[in-house]
Structures are given as structure tokens and as C-alpha cells.
Amino acid sequence: MTQENSILPPLTERFGILRWLRKNLFGSWLDAALTIIGAFIIYWAVTGLLTWAFTVAEWKVVSVNLRLFMVGQYPLQQLWRLWLALGFLMFLTGNSLAIWARRSYVATILLLAFPALLTLLPFGSEPRKWLIILSLTGVIGWGIGWSKPQALGRSVIFGWILSLPMFLLLTRGFTPEGGTMPIVGTNLWGGLLLTFLLTVVGILFSFPLGVFLALGRRSELPIIRLASVIYIELVRGVPLITIFFMAQLMLPLFLPPNWTVDRILRAMVAVTLFSAAYLAENVRGGLQAIPKGQFEAAHALGLNGAQTMVYIILPQALRLIIPILVGQFIAVFKDTALVAIVGLFDLVGIAKTVLAQPDFLGLQREVYVFISLIYWVLSYGMSYLSQQLEVKLGVGNR
């Protein structure tokens, strides 16, 4: 008996639910009071929310308008083009996961199963079929990538570079009316599709621009430095919404007559230019964190300025600022919601017009909860993937 007792840890460290509760939640009278109040608030909020969601809420407004939320007024007959483009993206995703993230099983399963999980939403039979196909495409891509990781690396990178132009081309179409791919005007793009395109274009184009501006701001050439500083400070000094107003309202007044720039394109350019100014400062922060010794070492090896930047400094600097970059990308994603104010039908814009449908008057809560959920899932997805990337690159450990 005495022997057994001596093996056990001290009383205070022994495991037990009651003991844990006592230690962490009911340590003192104050703790106990706070615990009870907290538990009550959580209970009250959660039951309130669940009761509303399952008994009061009229989710018909979402299920009936699901297509509007997803793609806006994009014509029904042409939807297969978007599915095709998404299939291409899923294939590449599966491929990339198998090649570069062989150990990240959780992320892989989540990403590949995501479309199939979406079938739980009240989609019609046609979208459900496509969603299953998407998941299968992802799995096939993963299988191919898994079997030949070395051989496929380059072609997958090439595929990713090609993916955005291809997505845009498929979305817009290229033959006149009556052809296999009739042109769908950008005025019909909307919903999540528009939010997605604005975000992706904004991120992809603002990133290189931001890096250039950051380098420009650290340049030793006064004109370049001054231009970068003026640009960054000017753009950062105004709210995004004013840039949108400028692009949508003022630009037409300055352009020559009969000269119109596509409204979606204007919004894309505005997002890009705005985000680039912020990214520039983020990247500059990363650049400043690189010790001088790195520059000197590169110099000693005989690398010139450009080589030093590309091979030595930028890879380290960008790796350092991954959390900030992802934060900025998530911000871009959510900031695109502002285009609703200038009359574009992004996710928020389409939500507002759905709310004006006489059949679904007064269902603000349902609609806004639904689109908030979409924003949250996608934002958290980005955040989760970036954390995986950080672990893989060992950002915190080096």
C-alpha cells in the first residue's frame, strides 16, 4: 500500500474532472461567481441562438435565393462553365496537396471533402451532383500527385499560374451569342463569385505591387523613394470606400465621351491599388527585420543588389511576415463587401437586393447570418491554411 501511494503524483496534480473544475473554475468565491455568471451567459446566448435558428428563422429566403447568393444573375444555362473552372481549381488543389503537403492529412481531407460537405446545404440536385464531382476531381488530382510528385511539380505551378486567366475566361466566355461559350457581361456577375474574383485579383496583383513599393521605399534613388512614399501615404490616408466612390462616380466624368471602363474592372483596380499600399508597409516591416549581416554576406559572396534581394532577403522577409500577409488578405476579402455601397452585387450587395424581394420582406437576420457564415468559413479557412503553412516553414521556430 505504501508503495502504491508513493507512485501517485501529489494530490494537487492528480487528474480528475472535479479536481480540474475546482482548480480552474471554482478556485475562490470570486472565481465561482464568475464561472456561474459566464456559464449562464453562454447558456442564454447559445439556447437563444439555437431556438431562433431552428424554430423562428425562415431559411426559405436562403434556399430559394441560393443561386443569387452564389453567382448573382449569372445565367443558368452557362453555370457549367463555373463548375468546370472550379473543377480545374480542385484538381490543382488535390495535386498540390499531394506534392507539397504529403503529411497534412487533416488539411487534405478537409479541403477535398469540403465541396461534398456543401451538399448538406439546400442545393438542388444539379449543384449537388457537381459538388460531388468537384470532390472526386480533387481526390483524383491528389492520387495523381501522390504517385508522381517529382514529375508533376513544375506543371502544377504552371497550372496555378494559368488558373486565374482561365477562370476569368471561362466566367466571361469568348464567343458571341449562340456559340458554345457566349460572353456573359460583368453586369451579371455577382454574389460569392464576384466577391471571390475581387479578392483573388486584389490579392494576386497587389502582392507584387506591394513588394515593389516596399523595395521602392527603401531604395537609394530619391525619385523612386519619393514616388513610393507619396503613393503609400496618399492611399493609406484615405478610406477604401472613397477610392471606390472615386472609381465608380468620378472616373466616368474624367474619361472622354463614350469611353467606359468596366465597373467590375474599376472595383478590381481599386482593391488592388488600395491593398498594395498596406502590403508595401507589411513587406517593409519584414525587410527591416533582416539583419545587416545578411546583406553583407550576400555581398561578400559576389551577389549583386537584385540577386541579394531575390535569393537572400525577400525569401526570409516574406517568410517572417506570413501572419501579417494573411491578415491583410483576409482584410481584402472582407473589404470587398464595400463595393455593395457603390451598387455592385457582391455577397453583401446581393443580400441587400434579396431583402427587397416582396416574398421575403423583413428577413434581415436570416440573410445576414447566412452571409456572415460564408465570410467566416472562408476567412477561417484562409487563416487555418496559413497556420499550416507556418508550421511547415517553421516560421516560429527559426
Binding site: 444573375q73 519619393l226 462616380l249 472622354p256 427587397a356 420582406l361 423583413g362
Partner: protein, 371 residues
């Protein structure tokens, strides 16, 4: 060194700004002497305005192959997108009627949702051919903003909403009651004027903003609530049970809403205006989209024959085909059909016709003769 650079750059920026301002005030070749300051909301000088002149707009629209119509997308009954992705509403149907008049195809119209802020700019810069977006006709908008209102398609005005089970059917029934109203607005003054002229005693319950006004009404702190009718319709939507509230058939102020076109193209103005008149005349003569074919084949009244293009070459005078009126009524409907489709008794956005009835029924709708 660094300091001088900063000063130089600041001067540079300042000079750019000055140059830009200078450039704007000297357009036209010679310096402009400012005699008096005129505040213009939309830059009238130096701004690019779409080319206009007699017939230009129709030519552009025909060459493009569709009409671009500036609409609202967020007002129930007036302009919104239905679940199938199609635009609906009374303002939207006007655009369809105009397209039907021009092309004989009500679908040859591209709807461009415009915000309140950008609507006049969009019209001026030629981004849209016509603005049909619950816009109130007023002198400033008819002159300084460079547009012309064509006709009134909806006589909006201050209305009164009461609970359906309250038994209140007219303003007189409100005697001794309480009315929720937003303070510091013309709405409050209109209410006071109308009620005192009718000799009705009431208690105004005033609130700082529209949200609290309607919140108070929802909590039954007053017997009725008042604001513009189209506003009442959309506000009713956020009440717990929208169908439990009705809008009284009274109008206490003038808010004529109608389509607007650019200055400078009288032919386009005529087309836009007579499209409205054709719909009103259609209702007056009892021609609907359902019976228009039989009416046309058996028409004897000269007025009807001219409207439907059987006599008088009326369409050619507008620069259109003679069947323009027939197409409007056949493809979109007469005024009553359009009204009932969006604001009629069978819709959740029901507004009693009131002033929007034909002049023969005590309303203000009156189409000049087609001759």
C-alpha cells in the same frame, strides 16, 4: 538635405493641385472672371458629358442593340431582383416598356443598378440612357443636374400606416390618437399642416431618427406612423408581422417619381415621355396585354387606332416603328397591369392607388391625346 527634399516635394504637390484647379476654371480658352459663386453639385464645367443632340441617344441605343437603364435594386415594389435573378418592380417595368417601344423586344434592356449618389453622374456621363430609379421630380434636378423628367410614373407622398386591426380607415379616424413621426423633417411639418387644415386633434410622438420612429410604432407606443409611402412599404417589411399593417389611402405631400433623361436630346425625351403616356392611355382605353390583339383587329375608335399604330404614323413621328404603342402594351402591359404586378393588392407591397389612378377615377394620371 532631406528637409529640402520634403519642402520641394510639398511644393511640387501643391503646384499640381493648383495647376489642376487653374485648368478647370479656364476651360473655354479665356480666363473666367468669377462674378458670383454658384454651387453646382455635379461638375458642369470641364466635365465630360455624353454627346447629346437631337436623335443621338436613339441612334446610340439602336447601334448598341440594347437599352441601358439605371435602376434601384433595393426597394421592394420599385426595383429589386427576384429569386430567378430577374429585375422586377414598377421602375424596372418602365425600362422594359421603353425597350419594347424601341426594339419591339422588352428584354433588350440592360439594368444598371445605380446608387443615389451616382445616379445623376451616370446619366450625364452616358453610362445609362435613362434613369428610372424612384427619383423625385424637382426644379434643381430638372435644371442644374442636367436632366429632364419625362412624366410621373408614381405619385409618391407622405402616407400613414396603421395596424390592420385598429379600424382606422382615414385621417379622421385618428382624432385624439398618437402619431409617430420623425422630428425636424418636412414629414413632421406636413403632418401638422394637413391635420390642422382638417381640424383633427392628435398627439405627435416625435423621435430623432427613422429607426427609433418605427421602433416606437412597432412597440405600439402610437396609433399610426407617417413617412413617404414607398418608405412605409419597405419599413413595413421589417415589422414583426408585415401583413398586420396597412397603408391608408391618403397622400399628404408631393413626391412625384418618374424617369429622367439627359438634357439636349428632345427626340429621346419624347420617346421616354410617350412610353409613359402609352401605358396610361392603354389603361384609359381598357387595352391590356391580354386583349390587345383582339382590340387591334377590331379597333374603330381613332384614338385607339393611333395608339396601336393602325393609323396616323404616330410611331414614325417619334423615330420609332408605328407599332410602338402596341408593343408596349403587348409585351409589358398598361399602367394598371404594371402597377398591380408590383404594388397591387395581391402583392406584399400593396399601396392603394390614390393619386396614381386615372383622372377619370379621381387620380392624377392623364395622358395627352395621341394625335
Amino acid at each position: 538635405m532631406r528637409k529640402t527634399l520634403w519642402i520641394v516635394s510639398l511644393l511640387l504637390v501643391a503646384s499640381f493641385v493648383l495647376a489642376a484647379c487653374g485648368g478647370a476654371s479656364t476651360t473655354g480658352g479665356e480666363p473666367v472672371t468669377v462674378v458670383e459663386t454658384v454651387i453646382v453639385e455635379v461638375p458642369a464645367e470641364g466635365a465630360v458629358v455624353a454627346p447629346s443632340g437631337y436623335g443621338v441617344t436613339l441612334e446610340t441605343v439602336k447601334a448598341r442593340g440594347n437599352l441601358i437603364c439605371g435602376v434601384n435594386s433595393q426597394v421592394p415594389g420599385f426595383g429589386y431582383i427576384d429569386a430567378d435573378g430577374n429585375f422586377s418592380g414598377i421602375d424596372v417595368d418602365y425600362c422594359r416598356a421603353l425597350a419594347a417601344a424601341i426594339f419591339g423586344d422588352a428584354n433588350k434592356v440592360e439594368f444598371r443598378p445605380v446608387t443615389a449618389a451616382e445616379r445623376f453622374t451616370a446619366l450625364q456621363s452616358g453610362e445609362i440612357d435613362v434613369l428610372s430609379r424612384n427619383t423625385t421630380w424637382s426644379l434643381v434636378r430638372d435644371t442644374e443636374l442636367g436632366g429632364n423628367f419625362t412624366a410621373t410614373t408614381f405619385y409618391d407622398g407622405q402616407g400613414m400606416m396603421v395596424p390592420a386591426d385598429s379600424g382606422i380607415n382615414s385621417l379622421q379616424d385618428l382624432a385624439g390618437g398618437t402619431v409617430c413621426v420623425q422630428t425636424g423633417t418636412t414629414t413632421e411639418l406636413n403632418l401638422a399642416d394637413v391635420m390642422s387644415s382638417l381640424g383633427i386633434a392628435y398627439t405627435p410622438a416625435v423621435y430623432e431618427d427613422a429607426d427609433s420612429t418605427f421602433a416606437a410604432y412597432a412597440e405600439e407606443r402610437c396609433d399610426a406612423v407617417t413617412t413617404d409611402k414607398s418608405g412605409l412599404v419597405s419599413r413595413r417589411t421589417v415589422l414583426a408581422d408585415p401583413s398586420a399593417h396597412v397603408i391608408l389611402d391618403v397622400t399628404m405631400s408631393k413626391e412625384p417619381l418618374g424617369p429622367m433623361v439627359r438634357h439636349g436630346d428632345d427626340q429621346w425625351f419624347d420617346i421616354a415621355q410617350w412610353t409613359v403616356f402609352a401605358m396610361i392611355a392603354g389603361e384609359e382605353f381598357g387595352i391590356t396585354s391580354a386583349n390587345v390583339d383582339s382590340v387591334r383587329s377590331s379597333a374603330t375608335a381613332p384614338e385607339v387606332m393611333r395608339l396601336l399604330g393602325l393609323e396616323g404614323d404616330m410611331g414614325l413621328k417619334l423615330g420609332l416603328n408605328n407599332d410602338w404603342g402596341y408593343n408596349i402594351i403587348k409585351l409589358v402591359g398598361n399602367y394598371e397591369e404594371v402597377y398591380n404586378r408590383s404594388l397591387g393588392p395581391d402583392t406584399p407591397t400593396y399601396i392603394p392607388r390614390g393619386y396614381n389612378s386615372l383622372y377619370t377615377e379621381g387620380g392624377l394620371l392623364y395622358a395627352p391625346p395621341v394625335r
